[in-house]
């Protein structure tokens, strides 16, 4: 259950950005969470709601984009979405798969007043 720590770090980045841009109110926060980060969206949402009270993000909405795990085979160049983290190329069977997406833990943008 590291979602609370992640939510706190998220708030820190949001507050810094809002302050540096003279914003008074944070309305929306857009984040990308890669599958490999093992972050549960509902837990992160819960932690965010608990932490936002009494801050400039009090009425803010957290919008989470879950990013699937994708990889490219280093042997046959086939690109694939992986449901499991056993990264084996379904086309040629190679285990040499380079991760393309799925490691994100990123705030992309915020909407402020």
């Amino acid at each position: 259950m590291h979602e609370v720590g992640i939510a706190q770090s998220l708030m820190d980045v949001v507050f810094d950005t809002a302050k540096n841009n003279g914003a008074k109110k944070v309305n929306k926060i857009f984040v990308k969470i890669g599958r490999l980060q093992a972050v549960e969206s509902s837990s992160l949402m819960f932690a965010f709601d608990a932490l936002k009270d009494g801050t400039i993000a009090e009425e803010g909405e957290l919008i989470i984009e879950n990013v699937p795990l994708t990889g490219k085979c280093m042997d046959c160049a086939h690109e694939n979405i992986f449901e499991q983290i056993f990264m084996q190329c379904p086309k040629c069977g190679s285990s040499a798969v380079q991760i393309l997406t799925g490691e994100e833990l990123q705030i992309t943008e915020i909407e402020v007043d």
């Binding site: 998220l10 914003a23 490999l36 056993f86 833990l105 915020i110």
Partner: protein
């Protein structure tokens, strides 16, 4: 309503501090290994046994992370190895700031071992300035753990299957476990160890010593 581009890693503060720590460790040529596992897999026992050997040649220090108590640091110190306890008071992982604070207790080291809070999930997201992560599993935990908790195995460089002396008493398929782990991370160096019989300890000590020598430029 204004849109502001942020494009920042959520854990950027921790990552920036970890990067600064790493620069310091690189300057001092200190090899830093971050040990991660679930609670009770035998990290502290294994460390006290292998560090006694490594300490004959190298300057070694240990940072112990736990929610509460300094039992583990006491156990490491009892083996004659300098150790600092960090209590996270409920937090399920160590952060770079914990390492920065703990480092004031040490002079220049050849090898710094960080024994993370027992947890197979959260520590994988928090960089501590280490050169490599070592993950551990004991045979009583089940061979499917690399498949169930893949993030940790994905970010580790070495994987230790510990307590192999118990294999006759448990249904643990070592080959399956290896296959699961290599499926998640084909580059893992895998060791099978027992602190009761000493199996695999020399081999793992050799792995660390080679990394220390490389870091020192020998």
């Amino acid at each position: 309503m204004t849109k502001l581009d942020v494009n920042k890693r959520i854990l950027s503060k921790n990552e920036e501090l970890a990067e600064a720590l790493k620069e310091g460790f690189d300057r001092d040529r200190t090899l830093v290994l971050n040990f991660v596992s679930s609670p009770g897999s035998g990290k502290t026992t294994l460390l006290s046994q292998i560090l006694v050997e490594l300490q004959k040649t190298y300057t070694v220090g240990v940072i112990e992370g736990d929610l509460q108590t300094d039992f583990d640091a006491e156990r490491i110190r009892a083996a004659g190895i300098p150790a600092v306890q960090v209590n996270t008071n409920g937090s399920c992982h160590l952060e770079a700031l914990d390492i920065e604070k703990a480092m004031v207790a040490f002079g220049k080291l050849d090898l710094l071992i960080i024994e993370n809070v027992g947890n197979l999930v959260c520590p994988s997201s928090y960089e501590l300035g280490e050169d490599a992560k070592v993950c551990m599993l004991s045979v009583t935990e089940g061979e499917d753990k690399p498949a169930k908790y893949p993030s940790m195995f994905h970010v580790s460089s070495a994987f230790i299957i510990n307590k192999t002396d118990l294999l006759p008493y448990v249904d643990f398929d070592v080959q399956k476990c290896r296959d699961f782990a290599l499926g998640v991370n084909p580059t893992l160096d895998i060791f099978e160890t027992s602190c009761k019989t000493g199996q695999g300890l020399d081999e793992f000590i050799g792995w660390i010593a080679a990394k220390i020598r490389r870091k020192k430029g020998e």
